[in-house]
Symmetry: C2
Subunit: 455 residues, 2 copies
Amino acid sequence: MTEIPYKIYLEENEMPTSWYNLRADMINKPAPLLNPATGKPMTAAELGGVFCDELVAQELDDTTAYIAIPEEIRSFYKMYRPSPLVRAYCLEEKLQTPAKIYYKFEGNNTSGSHKLNSAIAQAYYAKKQGLKGVTTETGAGQWGTALSMACAYLGLDCRVYMVKISYEQKPFRREVMRTYGASVTPSPSMNTEVGKKILAEHPGTTGSLGCAISEAVEDAVTHEGYRYVLGSVLNQVLLHQSVIGLEAKAAMDKYGIKPDIIIGCAGGGSNLGGLISPFMGEKLRGEADYRFIAVEPASCPSFTRGVFAYDFCDTGMICPLAKMYTIGSSYIPAPNHAGGLRFHGMSPVLSQLYHDKYMEAVAVKQTDVFEAAEYFARCEGILPAPESSHAILAAINEAKKCKETGEEKTILFGLTGTGYFDMVAYEKFHDGDMTNYIPTDEELQASIARLPKVD
Amino acid sequence: MTEIPYKIYLEENEMPTSWYNLRADMINKPAPLLNPATGKPMTAAELGGVFCDELVAQELDDTTAYIAIPEEIRSFYKMYRPSPLVRAYCLEEKLQTPAKIYYKFEGNNTSGSHKLNSAIAQAYYAKKQGLKGVTTETGAGQWGTALSMACAYLGLDCRVYMVKISYEQKPFRREVMRTYGASVTPSPSMNTEVGKKILAEHPGTTGSLGCAISEAVEDAVTHEGYRYVLGSVLNQVLLHQSVIGLEAKAAMDKYGIKPDIIIGCAGGGSNLGGLISPFMGEKLRGEADYRFIAVEPASCPSFTRGVFAYDFCDTGMICPLAKMYTIGSSYIPAPNHAGGLRFHGMSPVLSQLYHDKYMEAVAVKQTDVFEAAEYFARCEGILPAPESSHAILAAINEAKKCKETGEEKTILFGLTGTGYFDMVAYEKFHDGDMTNYIPTDEELQASIARLPKVD
């Protein structure tokens, strides 16, 4: 048997030339986005006012299995991809487990996460459409950084609305975006009507993601030559992120490795959806079987404690309605340090798959997550992002089960990014100041009771 | 002709199995370290009180060309190496230069720089000697982070004295070291006699690298089972860092690429010495010719404005004397944002080679360096460390000359690390608050006049 190297890198000519559209193989397709005013499915024309035309087409296409990756995007991918598939030899050794653990590491780029895979695609289509620029919101800052990098590369204007509290607490993320030429505005701001209104009503507010989304959308629709872009949840984002899973599968196939369990953290679903895509495709087509595990924070448990229903994607309730697992768009998750997982809902694609029992989900506590993060950092070298560490914890737990049962299972998990801009969280953990907030049943019921009524 | 990929990764079995000791091929060997008390060369026994035995042997060995890399170190290297040799297609395109530009990127590991290559080697020999732990100092924090990671991997205690001002201004670097289990003490501290003395004399001091070195050395020599380790300047460090050049050369050889110009930033010389080693070996043996360019900050110009003389390696004047290019150990360089290049002297190996005219040197201004850094980040994606950006600037300047002359030269430079913990510097640059300090002739003459007298 061929010895498996520590890191498997595909050759450039082995990199995917098409994205894989998982929806094409789904028996029960994800439900369409609805126009909240009419209760009817959003048309391409309606979506086109906010999003780029080609991205609207991708958003609505649930039949084409493979969509070619344009040459320009593939050139950009070559600057930081293929990402390595890593065999966690040191982690296995430390755990003394018979399990074989692999992770697909997406953190080796300056944006520090997998977000760049979709950022370059969305920026490319905006450029191709002859637009001047794009607008977006960012919370923790990974998505905003990725979009800034993509726009700098293409010479596109990039306007980021950054939740004010993050803007103030994460000046370094903001500075990276400025290095890439983006304009970064603390939200709420005086740039938009919605921002002015909120500031008038709540002069001291530190902002919210919902408010930042509203400002970014207003900025796009009120300026000629601009569109709004989004880093997760949407079908198009999962499509672009399929590059993660396609590369992982190609690398595994090359060495004859077949994973038994595939694990990813889940906030809006961009990383998990991308990682599992080609494997889930095989499962849907009955060609192979895998266990899929979504790992979410116990503080924001949309899969494990939410309902499968139509809801707004934003807390401002200006975006279309999506059918998804949700704890309610009016629910404000407690502050936790995995900002990328603090979303009340979940990708409609993943929600449908979870509903149809193709996937499992677990919710984990923040302090356990950081314990796993530190354990991992010390043996595997990489300092993981808090988001990614949810998947690490679940992978370690599965590997420990193998130790008990003696099973030699192969585990693959997504290591989405690095934690270099999350050291405040690590500091809290080291100092013993980290808390765990788990919503009560009453809180969730109250929020779910406020879901919009849809026939 | 084979098309050159964006990134060349060696296979694991193509990674170097030995370090290359450049001194073996030098006609004029670097001068020995002297005991400041006796003026005589330091003996192995004298050095052994401070450094690990095997590292002392490597420090003194100027005849063995190849020294095998122990299996355990090679296993650790496999976690983050081989590092990619990158063809800067996008930079070439943006510059519209006929030059072909390559860089060896050492920033894809959590320590964020090449320092890890020597940290794991030094920690390994300490472990092998049965020691409990090691002590060191850190300024900007890259070396301290790297050593923490290596010690965590080997289960060795790690005590880092961090210059107090850095400790306070760079809490995130400190926190990364804590994640890896290191104890990080702001220096001067009450842990050591020298620290107490300095605090009594200067109660409000924010510390200096010289003071931190003194504390780390005292801590090592006064505690059973501890030794002191250092991240640059020493011959052993250049030996370990030769892995950079060996990989770069193997990758280039694989594709039939021969560089005309090889460029690296130079502080203490660890990166530059490592990168050029095998190429310089060929030049010394008369097998090939290359231009080598050391790039230093104009604020701390040891090569370009210093003298070749014996001097202390530390400002505290407790370490041995080294013959090197120096602007005087009593000279305190103005604060600049490339902390890794603020050293008054230079590696004795590189100093001898420069003195013998095997190498050129240029000094560059800080604001020009950050302009190059941002330019590079926007087209190549990677946010570079300020130190590394010195090499970027020199490479861009050489590529621009090629544009003028039409010459298709091949340029190789070392991209030593990432700037994720240097965003304060980038912010100053963006805000127009960055200054350039260039020492006056009088200042340098005064400092050089205070060099120790050696026969």
